[in-house]
Symmetry: C2
Subunit: 189 residues, 2 copies
């Protein structure tokens, strides 16, 4: 139900193809709404059928044709209504690593293996933070954060990005605390 609104919100940035949206959902949108390219293509079909989005075919040379999607007036109105209404469902998280941590104390589980998993997570978190930093610079466009937040027309995308950055930073801190604990326990035995 909400992937619909995630797509509409993504199209606020302007016209985009399914492929471009799938890239966007891989970087910034992934922080709060996970989805695969297949889901997006399916959703776009539905949104077009329902008149919330319109498609324009762009012929390309030496590249497959692409369909550029944009919001219709009715899509925009629907999104406005959604944006002011209270959320229907609580935030859902699905993080396999945490299940593995929950079960790490089992006899058959090598603490070294657990360490490796946490280190991998930390590496990913750092990579994500790097990408966010670049997106942030682009959004700020030379202004300071304070200046931007006071004057810019659209601050929504910046506020969600702030959320993503804070989340990954916290993630990284957690990884480091866990690694410190695991290492000091390894030293004891």
């Amino acid at each position: 139900m909400s992937l619909k609104y995630a797509v509409l919100a993504a199209l606020l940035e302007g016209e985009a193809s399914g492929y471009e949206l799938s890239k966007l959902f891989d970087v910034s949108f992934a922080n709060f709404w996970a989805s695969t390219p297949q889901q997006l293509y399916r959703e776009l079909e539905r949104l077009e059928r329902d008149g919330l989005v319109r498609a324009r075919v762009v012929r390309q040379e030496r590249r497959p044709d692409k369909r550029m999607f944009s919001l219709t007036e009715s899509g925009r109105r629907d999104l406005e209504t959604f944006a002011a209404a209270p959320p229907k469902r609580p935030t859902a998280i699905r993080d396999e690593l945490m299940i593995k941590i929950q079960a790490m104390d089992l006899d058959g589980v090598d603490p070294e293996a657990t360490c490796a998993l946490v280190e991998e997570r930390a590496t990913w978190a750092r990579a994500k933070l790097d990408r966010y930093a670049r997106v942030r610079e682009r959004l700020l466009g030379g202004r300071t954060e304070e200046e931007f937040l006071r004057r810019a027309d659209r601050i929504g995308p910046y506020l969600t990005l702030m959320g993503g950055i804070a989340f990954e930073e916290e993630n990284l801190r957690w990884c480091e605390r866990v690694l410190a604990v695991l290492r000091s326990r390894a030293a004891l035995s």
Copy 2:
């Protein structure tokens, strides 16, 4: 695929009924693996059929019968294998509020309404933190964190709880920053 392991990991705490598991998934497990009671009942059926879990019917007076589930040896081994293997899928988050924030700059969206949504989120975050604090006290059982992390047999559940607490604290800080921004913009116009 991983709800399976989330359930097995939950049963590490000991025998539990479907109902009790659904309570657990509502409090601590919800931080990293969301699921509804109906999913749990279905999953438990499957796990029993596959021999990873065994059920024992407990007759009760003045209460419906209940089925208490516990891990079998093969369930435990399966969980051990899972715990040491790298995650198959990246962490997925689905947070409606963030979509609403992303779209908040639309003309038809009242900034007051957006504020109210963020305040509600902050209230929930505080309530969650309260509950986590109680779970934490129970786990520590009077010891300090340092002492606990050095000597306890099972630290997995504490580490995931630490993650949940850090996540909610960050959430709350984000809410407060957003509210400060929204209020100072409201004062300007």
